[in-house]
Symmetry: D2
Subunit: 428 residues, 4 copies
């Protein structure tokens, strides 16, 4: 959430509202576009407790605007259905009761059509609220937060659907994916060096960020090197072929336990069939492309690979120190590829943004001086600051406008259903 | 499955076919009628591993006819989709691979519409098969088995939906249920006595039965008494109010463990709200009717209640010895009540059939001389003969033509999602 | 427990006491003899929730006499330690609180020496009670029950120790076992036939039995045949070599699930090493003797073997109908073999008693007219009458005087740590 | 492990050996002193997978010297028992197979007496090795590591025994504890301020440290304040009385889940009885002393308390920045108190060392430039660098000579069986 440093004033507020209204509309339409063509069943099922049904994402993102903007800010607003207050609350204990996360797949009603009507009801409310002047900075902050929140759920719609479809024996495709560039060689890996010293890390200024990106603070970094691109499938195959999944000395102790309990023998979505690796994508099964960035590995696998490679994962500060000077270009959701692509074009110099989220070796904790946002949205990030690791850079399922060099994504170390890969680092 | 004793001959076969064809059609239509008005989401969700999605029931019952009648019996029949062979096989290992039962709720595709097309495809095949003369007794046996099999799944559609809807915080109704008779007193409980001696138990003759009802055999019974009707809610409430759920001395040891682990404090679907017991029905929530037969208790609860009442559960042989002379009348699915009703009308003299399945104290085992049916359908009943108890009599969700005095239903002792109640017995 | 039909009178009572006192002493000494030579650690550990530490067995059997005889029957008796009332209560809820079964291995104190002192304290109390005249028939009943109870725990001491030692990588021996007879051929399997008719089953008369053996009652049996000896290791190896553990069609559904979850590939205590089967015994590891009766299989394995062999398990009534006319001779604990032996000598005609408990196909339920014993000891048997199967005949770890033709042992179908084998049966 | 910067030479090596030999002897004797008076049963039991039997600790610490010093370094050394190589290997995969951690309580043999003989055998070997000149610096490093390793296990002997005894309903005492000072007021809490800037963190130089304390590196710290003493029981009671365990908004999300799953309502070892809090200690149960430092809380509870108190946990760098200038004085294991004491005497100014380990808000990760030690001992620390948090300062169960200002202890955030408390911090 933004922490504006400029004093609010009516003109500034009107300008913000004029800026936000089309972004709201665009984001809301974008979510619907992702769900277009899906059946009610596709939208209703939950394939694991970590994932949610598409219908739930459609409703919860609307609940967010209803709860945090319309109920406090639009006089006379009538909730679409009071029961939704519980049903579509994700985890905000200060808002009230929540339907259990693991039971989101037990809700056949409201039907998809009704959830779409709910979305329209909320959109109409927001339009009225904008029309009435949107005279409250705090509510504008919350609406802006809601837009970024909905972008996060856009990515989850894709990753949760991918997981769901992967559990279907027929491995159905979400969509026909565009033709891919002919396979080639990825650019040679180079090492980019940064010197030791005190760096400024984190977000500052009036532009939007999540609270966990703040405050900007100083961190001392030893000189280090980062790889010029993420690890590719070909490189990871060398690890695999070298017995990577059979050698406990390469793994963290908890990682080895996870590999054993979950019987990992390759990244998620890889299947060995008839002498060759296939990979499940949002377009269905296809042969593994060795030139693509590796995706769908856990922190444990990323860490084991880096150890095997004689390197390590970067810290998030190291990553940011490099990224802060790079343009935010890359293979985002707007490309339509919906899958990582071999490095190409301008961003290929570093491939820091898009394609795959990159696991860092940094535990997800509050920055020095961190303060959660006030009110219930203070639960947005802060209460998850344990047992997770930070990922950086965005993926092929992330909206481009959602990403920043300071952006901190986070997942537990065993999570594999995101487009998560890695980049090597080493001490200089 | 029937084991005809008469020698098959063409005329007999033609008569059987003429009898079975309309029964097939009626049963198939009946299944669709149960699903009418349900949304695709209603039909796709799975609320627990014991229950299956409606869509799965619709498909699996068709798979049964396709696998056991059309593939072996209709030359040139083309499977609707070869993948369905795995996807909709429930547990027949001799047929081949099976999709895991607990993952039936992960299948968004085929969509409901496609499953309905699959049903129509199978129905057309069966019509062609009948049209071609149905010249094989064994296939007629399998088709008849398939009709009874589908009736079982009709009941499961209702009980599985009830469970699913109960997990929705809004407790939606499956259908508006008909007006119920005004509350009154159930008939006074009387004790019906039967003398000691050797009884003939089990099914015999050419008429259809499942293999587990055969062979008819002799059993020596001591003189005993059976209650003239099942236990009512009012009676069970007295047990509950007497601390029935807090007194381990009333329970089997495993029963007490189940009650503790699952936190049972009342039958399934009972909810205490604002000083009164409510009960969830296929028509939604409504006040508990004390005159109704008790339903949705486990074997453990039935057993504890009987012990508290100074009685016991009947054996299945005792139950059958009484039932074999009673007409099969009662509150079956055709009444549309979809809920147990207080005893009334002609069947009220014993209320042995319909309303609720009655737990017996008999473990589900093969009868003396039991032989499973030949082929894969031999897996239908025999391989479940452990860790289950026999229930008798049919329920308000059972088709009337499905029930016999010799019919043996069976469920694990902790199961509560069926319409399961009990009748008291005692030694004479 | 016995239900004397003769009217009690002082002379009879004195005779009973005179009979019981040496049996008490002998049984108590027998228990200590089993524990002789064990270290305090050997006696303190619990290797799984189903098994108990030897120390616990030593204490619990004493608790039984203290609780049911001394406290009600010996004026002025002072409990050794009031805390033992909870600590060594196995499962009698009517006696009061119980220490959880699965935590019996967390009790380092009282030490073994103190438990032995507790035993002596109780023995002294019982001696005083006998000395004072033992004037109460009900207490004599309970003392006699306690003697049989302690015999059961003698067997459990051996089977629980065997399980514990099997979990030690060094596979230590409990004792050096006597030299075994030279390997030979087991007697050829013959089929013993019994005719159909009404049989009297169960115990009657004043002599001791457990309540679950009563009342004697009639059962109609169809003509049947029983094998003349239990299944041998050689016979079971043929099942194993024929893919017995890989063919689900041979197994009960729950049995296959148990085999899969617990990764069974052979009976318990079998280990394949260097091209040959070894077996863990109370004397340590040694080569598998093909002529021995098979032991340490679950009900599921026994059932699958019988199906593979084209036969079935006997019912307990069938077994008893044959056994009731046989002398109770066989390889019991007194032989010191502590392991099943190939059939030899007089009992080899049927080998019904000793060597291995034989799984029957009968679920463990109350007999017609069953009434649990009065008071807390009514919990002894009745509350376990669910989810278990009856075994008959006694084993190489059972005291000879403990066994009767009517004796009903029972265990859950997945249990394997008892000396449990099987005998085939078939319809005539 | 030390990373000597001085070039090794014979004179230096001899001096090291002369220094280490008595420290070895003293440490080995100290371990035995902790086990003195315990019964074989006390030493054999395992109360949870996280804890180990005393006997295992006695053996494993000997295994360490045997494996890492005697086998490579003492020509002609004969292993006491080759089976111990597996049995007492904790987690060193590069050494070979390991007996599973959760099964350490299943080993009745070797008996305690034999483990003590094993210890003596190893001690004799080490004496011979010293006598032969100890001419290898790397082996001296490993021996020194073994001494520190054994000190860690000394602490675990106490905390594991405490847990074991707490599971015994009689709550036995390990030892009679010395009289405690009369209850008084703890010193008032003051805030100690440190300025912002770049600090040097971690160990450097030739003196021993674990590899995870190295390398010394720079960290930028914002100005901050640390409390002058740990949180007391009285202060924590105020949190508890304010509904601390019932208010999810005070907790991390994972913490709330742990509290719910494990039913935490107070710190470990607290019991509410007859209107007052009692606490289980190594001397048995006694009333809770409000002036003592709080102990036996998880990271989650520490974090929730700090949030409730309007403060936060210190980072480990903050803690070290203060501690590096303090004398290492405090209530360590040598005091014999075996329980935290209210602040008193010289160390009361900060109470940074002894009494309780203090949870920091720092995830346990490698320092910048971290390199695990070479060889199998490289598994000592590095492979646990995930899902754990750093604790600092030592406890009443830690040997004084084991602690340093740079010492990093680490446990998972739900662990409570160590003497773990907390100190508050806040931004300046």
């Amino acid at each position: 959430m933004s922490s504006p440093v400029t004093a609010p004033n009516p003109a500034h507020r009107a300008a913000r509202a004029a800026d936000l209204q089309p972004r709201y509309a665009e984001t809301r339409a974008g979510t619907l576009a992702l769900a277009a063509g899906l059946s009610p069943e596709d939208c209703a099922l939950q394939s694991m407790p970590d994932a949610s049904p598409v219908k739930w994402h459609l409703a919860h993102t609307s609940w967010f605007f209803e709860t945090f903007v319309l109920e406090p800010g639009l006089p006379g607003y009538r909730a679409y259905d009071p029961a939704f207050r519980v049903l579509f609350n994700s985890y905000y204990v200060q808002v009230g009761e929540r339907h259990p996360r693991s039971e989101r797949g037990l809700i056949s009603r409201p039907a998809l059509a009704e959830v779409l009507a709910y979305r329209a009801h909320v959109d109409q409310g927001i339009a009225r609220w904008f029309g009435a002047g949107a005279r409250d900075d705090a509510l504008l902050d919350l609406l802006e937060l809601g837009v970024h929140h909905e972008q996060q759920h856009q990515e989850l719609i894709l990753t949760d659907l991918k997981h769901l479809f992967s559990r279907n024996p027929s491995r159905p495709a979400y969509r026909a994916l565009p033709a891919r560039p002919p396979a080639g060689q990825p650019p040679a890996l180079e090492w980019l060096s940064l010197p030791s010293g005190v760096y400024e890390i984190g977000h500052d200024g009036p532009a939007f960020s999540f609270d966990n990106e703040r405050p900007r603070h100083r961190a001392y970094l030893r000189s280090f090197q980062l790889a010029s691109r993420p690890v590719t499938n070909a490189e990871y195959l060398a690890f695999l072929d070298d017995g990577g999944y059979e050698r406990p000395e390469l793994w963290l102790s908890d990682g080895w336990d996870a590999r054993t309990a979950q019987r990992w023998t390759a990244p998620a979505y890889w299947e060995y069939d008839a002498g060759a690796w296939q990979v499940f994508t949002l377009g269905g099964m296809r042969p593994l492309d060795p030139c693509e960035p590796l995706a769908h590995v856990s922190y444990y696998e990323a860490d084991a690979y880096a150890r095997w490679a004689g390197a390590r994962l970067p810290t998030e500060a190291e990553w940011e120190a490099l990224a802060i000077r790079q343009p935010i270009e890359g293979n985002f959701v707007e490309s339509g590829a919906l899958h990582p692509l071999p490095a190409h074009g301008p961003q290929a110099q570093t491939q820091l943004f898009g394609d795959v989220w990159e696991w860092t070796g940094s535990a997800y904790l509050g920055y020095p001086g961190f303060r959660p946002a006030a009110g219930a949205v203070g639960e947005y990030n802060g209460k998850f600051m344990v047992n997770q690791f930070v990922l950086r850079g965005g993926s092929c399922a992330t909206p481009r406008s959602h990403v920043r060099a300071t952006y901190r994504n986070f997942f537990p170390p065993a999570a594999r259903w995101q487009f998560s890969g890695l980049r090597l680092a080493r001490d200089a």
